[in-house]
């Protein structure tokens, strides 16, 4: 049974993340979280002729590793919810062309992983899916050539710019059983605080993350200190600072906030400016870093808030401001999956 309170869905019998896999590229393999990935590609072309196909390979590997770790086969998957940044979600579509499973393509920019987990949990909880894959990816080169400039073009990154992660993460959901529980999900609303600088996505997304967190806390009556950690998706160093500032102004001092985009790379050494971004960034950090900690028991309760900037190249050139969204899922360690 599930209940809705405000914007938040509460799952009485928690769907579980039975298995998960994170794959990454070269820079991710040189970063602080390298040891936590299930597989790292030493070359970002993943043996393919172009970057778009390389991103498809990231998703395929993530999906297959995730199933392998669960000792499951593709036959046991009833639905795949997947998304990416490529125009028309093609990395996911082409990966699913090979997997040939029931597929719903999602787009929430960098918030897609939480969107997929929230929807997946709702479907599982309602008994409409068993063996559901939630998966997202991003590829630095594919994103760069689509949204910015050719890769060999000499462009300078501003200090507020973020680095699109070359990574994918995949989770296998079941309505019940062993694994990290999804206790609740809050789907965010589109927030727009009139940021127009396409090189400052963290600033555009921070208010959305804060708004979704506040709405979740209000809906559930919880406090931020009830959680071992509150992870945001890819606000980066600047966006994280703004996120905490906004919450402080709302009377909420955050001591347990961690940003996936800020921990994926060593900003000083790896020259990524404000940190990582992309749907693959928080998906890989979730699958490689957060979920194992919940399974081991070093975390008991965690909030995962993935944030997305929802503009396009066209709206940006038309001088529109950047709308942003944040979706939240509440995760619980395997021993606390009974609501209490």
């Amino acid at each position: 049974m599930a209940a809705r309170r405000g914007d938040t869905l509460l799952f009485e019998r928690m769907p579980v993340i039975a298995s998960h896999a994170a794959v990454g590229g070269k820079k991710e393999g040189e970063g602080p979280l390298a040891a936590e990935f299930d597989e790292l590609f030493p070359d970002n072309n993943c043996g393919q002729a172009n970057w778009e196909t390389a991103e498809k390979i990231l998703q395929l590997r993530a999906a297959r590793l995730c199933l392998k770790k669960a000792h499951a086969t593709e036959k046991q998957v009833s639905l795949v919810l997947a998304g990416d940044l490529q125009a028309q979600c093609t990395a996911s579509s082409y990966a699913l062309r090979e997997l040939h499973l029931p597929f719903v393509g999602l787009f929430g920019a960098c918030s897609t992983m939480a969107e997929a987990l929230g929807l997946g949990a709702a479907l599982c909880s309602a008994g409409l899916a068993d063996g559901l894959l939630a998966m997202t990816s991003s590829h630095f080169c594919a994103a760069e050539r689509q949204f910015r400039t050719p890769l060999s073009y000499g462009a300078v990154r501003t200090p507020t710019a973020q680095w699109t992660a070359t990574a994918a993460g995949c989770c296998l959901l079941h309505p019940a059983g062993q694994g990290v529980g999804i206790a609740a999900a809050t789907f965010g609303r589109v927030e727009d605080y009139q940021i127009k600088d396409i090189n400052n996505m963290g600033a555009a997304m921070a208010p959305a993350a804060a708004a979704t967190l506040l709405r979740y806390l209000h809906d559930t009556g919880q406090e931020s200190k009830d959680f071992d950690a509150i992870y945001t998706g890819d606000l980066g160093h600047l966006g994280s600072r703004l996120f905490r500032e906004i919450l402080t102004a709302e009377g909420l001092v955050m001591k347990n906030h961690i940003d996936c985009g800020s921990i994926l790379y060593d900003a000083a050494r790896q020259n990524v400016k404000s940190g990582g971004s992309g749907p693959g960034c928080c998906a890989a950090v979730l699958c490689g870093h957060i979920l194992p900690r919940l399974e081991r028991g070093s975390y008991r309760r965690v909030l995962f808030i993935a944030t997305g900037a929802l503009m396009s190249q066209t709206t940006f050139l038309q001088k529109e401001s950047i709308p942003a969204i944040a979706h939240l899922v509440e995760l619980r360690g395997p021993e606390c999956t009974v609501r209490g």
């Binding site: 590229g25 070269k26 820079k27 070359d43 970002n44 072309n45 172009n50 970057w51 630095f140 080169c141 760069e144 050539r145 050719p150 890769l151 060999s152 462009a155 300078v156 070359t166 600088d197």
Partner: protein, 118 residues
């Protein structure tokens, strides 16, 4: 001395471009477009030719010099051919640079591949 001034003037023109990028909201593409148009204007009012004389490549290699080249081409063509020079002068003068870029682009696309920045 010619070398010294080419270095200093060229360097300073680039510093102005850097200041425009860092201090204003102008994107690099706009700065470049602005530079070429500014080059045409500076050449039209007669300021750029003396600078090119003085600094050599320090003035002609930056994109301001591309604007100067276009303006100079139009001026010469009008003097030699009359009104049709308005249409033929600019690109005729710039033809070598543009065509070399174009040919290099196509040839390099045969041999080169997209380089990962990671």
């Amino acid at each position: 001395m010619q070398y010294f001034w080419a270095f200093v003037v060229g360097g300073l023109i680039c510093v102005v471009g850097q200041l425009l990028i860092d201090l204003t909201a102008l994107t690099p593409a706009r700065v470049l477009t602005g530079y070429v148009v500014a080059g045409v204007v500076l050449s039209a009012i007669g300021w750029y030719a003396p600078l090119a004389e003085f600094a050599g490549c320090g003035a002609t290699v930056p994109l301001l010099g591309f604007g100067h080249l276009l303006a100079k081409g139009v001026k010469t063509a009008i003097e030699e051919e009359g009104a049709i020079g308005i249409l033929t002068g600019g690109l005729t003068a710039a033809a070598a640079g543009i065509t070399t870029s174009l040919v290099c682009g196509v040839v390099c696309s045969w041999v080169g591949k997209s380089h990962d920045q990671n």
